[in-house]
């Protein structure tokens, strides 16, 4: 495929997902309702527990990361879910489109939505709880957001693979999987409080490192050496694995006929 064709295929998916996102009520709930409820309830809890500003920042960083990753990974999962729900899988997979176009186009929409949520929650956190997302500086913030979006890519593509492998039954993964990853990555607590076997798993999750690096600017000593580099390396590894898994799942769906079943 030429570069022009590659870009057009990504643009096709990007425009499609953006149009769908702008026209459906449940997208609105994902974008506004749940993230705002999350930050408000967690922020108020930090007040009730009389946490120090640093401790409150620690928890709010995790809460915001949860929303950003969740929304962005859902958008990546929509690359497949929208077609599963509308039963148009066969049209999509009969066209000259690769899974890289599907996931990249969706991911770009996810980044826009994730960034919008981040801006909104940052504003809310500053207004309601005096939490300043810019305190670590633009570079650290950029690395943190990049980490969130890369994690979202990995989880979203893995969810696409699972749905393509198991069909509609795997839809629940789209909403459940990110929570499992985020609990292990230490959203509301440092990884050091986890029991050792669980901490080993936590150390295998890239988001753990990006959270660690960002929180270091709020007065919490970093638990890892070179957390951003480690997070990026792990993200690249998992992104490659997730891509391969999705590719293999599509190949299997073509063999088993699941691709057709999901279009009936």
């Amino acid at each position: 495929m030429s570069w022009r064709a590659e870009l057009l295929a990504v643009e096709a998916v990007l425009v499609r997902n953006a149009l769908m996102a702008s026209r459906n009520v449940f997208f609105f709930f994902e974008l506004l309702f749940w993230p705002i409820v999350g930050v408000l309830s967690i922020g108020l809890m930090t007040r009730f527990l009389r946490l120090s500003p640093e401790q409150a920042s620690f928890v709010l960083v995790g809460t915001i990361a949860l929303s950003v990753v969740n929304v962005c990974q859902l958008e990546v999962a929509y690359a497949v879910l929208l077609d599963v729900w509308s039963k148009s899988m066969k049209h999509q997979f009969m066209a000259p489109i690769g899974i890289r176009h599907l996931t990249l186009g969706s991911w770009l929409v996810g980044i826009v939505r994730g960034s919008a949520i981040f801006a909104l929650l940052a504003l809310l956190g500053w207004w309601a709880f005096g939490f300043d997302v810019l305190r670590p500086g633009w570079l650290a913030l950029g690395a943190f957001l990049l980490g969130c979006f890369l994690n979202a890519w990995v989880v979203g593509v893995a969810v696409c693979a699972l749905i393509t492998l198991f069909g509609n039954r795997a839809e629940a993964f789209a909403w459940a999987s990110v929570n499992l990853v985020l609990v292990l990555a230490g959203i509301y607590y440092p990884v050091s409080v986890l029991p050792e076997p669980v901490a080993v798993v936590a150390r295998a999750i890239p988001l753990t490192y990006f959270l660690d690096a960002y929180r270091a600017h709020y007065g919490f000593a970093s638990e890892f050496a070179a957390p951003v580099a480690t997070g990026l390396a792990l993200s690249a590894l998992y992104a490659a694995l997730a891509h391969w898994a999705f590719l293999a799942a599509v190949g299997r769906a073509r063999r088993t006929g699941l691709l057709l079943k999901m279009s009936e």
Partner: protein
């Protein structure tokens, strides 16, 4: 008659496919059991058969949506497994049960697929305009897909299937659930596509009249095997259903006709006594002589071939 280029659009040999299901108790459902089929370029080819015969499975393999278990399939010179990527640019499909993203408007659906096939900017806009005009979707261009009627959805599917101006078009029951007047227009349109663009079209349908009207050749598939293949006339002769002599008689009831030599069966339909005979040329004079001798007045005589539907019923049995 179609002017074939000498090259085959489809060359499938001994294709097999078995669906497997269940994790613990494996169930195997053979869908294709050695299907071989060659379709020349520029032809309209009909694939007929009862439900579950393997038509959609075979079509899906040709369209690269399904991988065959065995055999070889070459479409437009490409192997459907090894060269699927290159092949996908050159073919398309419309289904009688179309489905697209519910919130997208007609123009947006066409734009999405247009981009996937490499169209952008002014050429994309021009193509969408052409297709909307062709499918008579002008007034519905900005209507979300979920708000369209069944007929309009099928027209969107047909328009989408032409977005890349395919060399090979698969139509899976294209007039399913359409009003008769709309079906007629769709059939006219399919015939035009072949006439004006020399497109190869493979069609599955349960509408025998549609198959007879459109297809140069027909293959009849049952239980994953091709049982018969040929033009509509050839199929009728292959099956040996004989010919039908329809007679309007006075008096209408002539019981001995069913026992006459060469008469395979005899039924009364709408005031006509229809005798299916082994060879009309030989039996018609004999019957007329016998009826005259018995004092039966023959008011009208018509000789016709059996309908394709009768061939279908016979083969599906």
């Amino acid at each position: 008659m179609v002017s074939f280029t000498g090259m085959l659009a489809i060359d499938a040999r001994d294709v097999t496919k078995t669906f497997r299901s269940g994790w613990l108790r494996r169930r195997e459902t053979p869908a294709l059991r050695g299907v071989s089929l060659a379709v020349p370029r520029g032809a309209i080819f009909g694939l007929l058969g009862p439900n579950g015969a393997g038509k959609t499975t075979f079509l899906s393999i040709l369209a690269t949506l399904l991988t065959p278990d065995g055999g070889s399939v070459c479409v437009l010179g490409h192997d459907v497994v090894r060269e699927a990527g290159a092949l996908r640019r050159r073919l398309n499909m419309a289904s009688g049960r179309p489905s697209f993203l519910w919130s997208l408007r007609v123009g947006e659906i066409l734009a999405f697929y247009g981009r996937l096939y490499g169209l952008a900017g002014a050429p994309l806009r021009r193509r969408i305009d052409e297709l909307i005009e062709l499918a008579e979707l002008g007034p519905h261009r900005r209507v979300p897909y979920s708000e369209l009627s069944t007929g309009l959805k099928q027209r969107v599917a047909l328009a989408k299937s032409l977005v890349n101006d395919p060399e090979l078009l698969f139509l899976d029951e294209p007039t399913l659930g359409l009003d008769p007047d709309v079906s007629v227009r769709v059939r006219q349109h399919i015939a035009e596509l072949r006439r004006e663009r020399a497109m190869t079209i493979v069609l599955t349908t349960h509408n025998m009249r549609e198959a007879e009207e459109l297809c140069d050749e027909i293959a009849f598939i049952k239980e994953g095997r091709i049982l018969a293949r040929g033009t509509s006339g050839e199929l009728k002769r292959q099956i040996g259903l004989g010919e039908v002599i329809a007679l309007r008689l006075d008096p209408a009831d002539v019981p001995w006709l069913a026992e006459a030599p060469g008469v395979l069966r005899c039924v009364t339909v709408g005031g006509f006594t229809e005798c299916t005979v082994d060879a009309a040329e030989k039996r018609l004079p004999e019957l007329l002589r016998a009826l005259h001798a018995e004092g039966v007045v023959v008011r009208h005589v018509q000789v016709r071939e059996p309908e394709l539907e009768e061939v279908f019923v016979e083969l599906a049995r």
